[in-house]
Amino acid sequence: MARKLLLEHAQVPGINTYEVYRKHGGYRSVEKALKTMSPDDVVEEVKKSGLRGRGGAGFPTGMKWSFLAKPEGVPRYLVCNADESEPGTFKDRYLMEKIPHLLVEGMITSSYALGANTSYIYIRGEYSWILFILEKAIAEAYANGWLGKNIQGSGYDLDLYVNIGGGAYICGEETALIESLEGKRGNPRIKPPFPAVKGLWQCPTVVNNVETISAVVPIVNDGGEEYAKIGIGKSTGTKLISASGNINKPGVYEIEMNISVEEFIYSDEWCGGIKNGKKLKACVPGGSSVPILPHFLVCKTANGDTRMMTYESLADGGFATGSMLGSGGFIVYDEDQCIVRNTWNFSRFYAHESCGQCSPCREGTGWMEKVLHRLEHGGGKMSDIDLLVDVAKKIEGNTICPLGDAAAWPVSAAIRHFREEFEWHVNEPRAAMERNYGLVTEKTFAPAS
């Protein structure tokens, strides 16, 4: 049985209430940090743990914290990014729904480490019911003296607020999130300055994912070195994976980052194999933005090594033959799934969610969506495939925020690995539509233009 650090008590009845959570060792990290550690000690501990940002980019959290500017007389803020909107990712939702106090506890410890006296949890608009779960947990924390003035007699003050977003994917980008939190239109800011220097209300700000902040709790409790022992190389600790797609047991799993992808997909402890005994076709290992992997690159890397569920191993081979761990949105496709249709669906999402600030992303995502729609619905041309590659290349790296990259990567990767399927859609449009949408006759077949 694998070790669980975050979801250990997730199935305990009533863990969402303060009493039960406290009985299972809750708020120990706050006690330990406030009484025995200085803020810098906590940062040091997180650095030692090798914890990496769980929101997708995988940037070392300790390093991010040490970049925080600390000018005299200027408040600092910690913002928790609970705007989990990446298609295929639902780990934060599970965590907040089941054990909201873990996040609250992590927020208190992390805020103490960063010297923030006001912190925010920015939650996506679609998680409206979790807002109440979190607010209840925060109220309980206030009532028991874990929040507010002079926490547990330590002299440290902290106010924690939950803020609900309006339902835009782009507000998960940290600067857009800050803009939205300030009450403005959620457009990403142009960097530099980075939030660590000028963030919320033009003050130094750290934005971290729900899972990252929750992971601070076991790190402070057991020590960073203990946490770093789990996992391989620079991928330390446990990671929540949202497994979905054609597998027997979809759900949220906490894994130690030392198991192989093959084990994760086929072991009964995790996904339990492909549904209905079908064959694996492809896998998106880290949420819709990361490149898709064809079946022969899922379990083995290009040079024959076993692919592990780690940041490094999944990225092995670069974008040519690798992918990214990303946010851990693990989507598995069986042999019947259509990659063209899937790519169109992803690109439709990005076209809808582009903020419209910068030209390559605003126009490019819409263009890719239209071309893919045509390809998928029987009106494609052979030149469309190269056009898509070219448009994706021109968006990538030329935009203000990473949404442009996130929209371009899945398209170029799908064509890189599944070009024959795209060509089949061009050559045999009727057969392709029949496979994806059922009976299509000569009469009902109407290619899109």
């Binding site: 142009i190 969610e353 605003r362």
Partner: protein, 310 residues
């Protein structure tokens, strides 16, 4: 003071100057095009991505090159920085692709557009665009909207540079101009088509790089290249009163603010000057205004000023 080298030319500029402004101080071919940056509007820039350049050497202290192309209007220069603008093929390619993106939803009907001849997108397309489009879908269109009695908004032509939004924010005390929706269906809006009641609202016409915001008192009266621009001034209680009057014969067809070489207005003018004072007696004409007529339409028509054929 930091020294920066752009396309092999070195210049010393004030601390905090952006690459674009350093390039403008050098002048000439290496100046990156800018569709959204506006020197007199705070916060503008960074959006259109036409001014992308490659930083081949970060600074004297940290000589690493920057991994991606950067928006030159937003990136401050560092001492010893080396920048490739037009000399780098990847920069030229990136600009060409941004031009393509800007044009996929922009109507290609310059002959019937009021902005033709002074349109920045026309210039950009002339320099970086291709003769044929690869876009085969229906273009995005909108109904024309009258913003008050003086300004016409035609969103179909808009390239979302946000300049007019910044103008409304920074010049007009009551902000009634903003953006609704997002992505490729985003729209400039004056929240539920409320007209802008500000003495300085007319300046959104001058800052618009394309024909999305035009002067209703001038629309389709003439073409800019038929008119003679003259520097003129008048005693105005609201603004500086320094403007350019565009004349044909003895008649004043329209009034605009004075734009610099890059199309940026430094002295914004009020609506009275712009829309209501069109009698010859209203203005003291100083003399012909030298305007950098670089647009495709004025090719070979104007000899003075900078050489026109690029």
């Amino acid at each position: 003071m930091p020294k920066v080298t752009i396309d092999g030319q070195t210049i010393e500029v004030a601390e905090g100057t952006t690459i674009l402004n350093a390039a403008r101080q050098i002048g000439g071919e290496l100046v990156p095009p800018a569709m959204c940056y506006y020197s007199t509007l705070k916060g503008s820039g960074g959006k259109c991505r036409t001014c992308l350049v490659r930083v081949t050497k970060g600074s004297e202290k940290d000589p690493r090159p920057m991994p991606k192309l950067v928006a030159s209007c937003q990136t401050p220069v560092m001492d010893g920085m080396e920048v490739a603008s037009k000399s780098d093929p990847s920069v030229v390619e990136a600009r060409a692709s941004v031009t393509e993106f800007l044009l996929i939803n922009h109507p290609l009907d310059c002959p019937i557009c009021d902005q033709a001849g002074e349109c920045h997108l026309q210039d950009l397309a002339f320099e970086h665009g291709k003769a044929k489009t690869r876009y085969e879908f229906e273009r995005r269109t909108f109904e024309k909207i009258d913003i008050g009695p003086y300004i016409k908004l035609h969103m179909t032509r808009c390239i979302m540079c946000f300049r007019c939004v910044f103008t409304a924010q920074q010049l007009c005390p009551e902000r009634v101009h903003g953006i609704i929706h997002r992505g490729d269906h985003a729209e400039i809006s004056t929240f539920i088509e409320k007209s802008i009641d500000s003495e300085f609202s007319g300046n959104v016409i001058d800052v618009c790089p394309v024909g999305a915001l035009t002067d209703r008192t001038f629309r389709f009266k003439s073409r800019v290249w038929f008119l003679n621009p003259m520097d003129a001034h008048r005693e105005c209680p609201t603004c500086s009163g320094k403007a350019v009057v565009w004349m044909y014969g003895g008649e004043i067809y329209r009034v605009t603010a004075r734009k610099d070489k890059y199309g940026d207005v430094h002295d914004f003018i009020c609506n009275t000057c712009r829309f209501e004072k069109k009698g010859k007696g209203d203005w003291t004409v100083e003399g012909p205004r030298d305007i950098d007529r670089h647009s495709v339409i004025s090719q070979n028509h104007y000899e003075h000023g900078e050489k026109t054929v690029r």
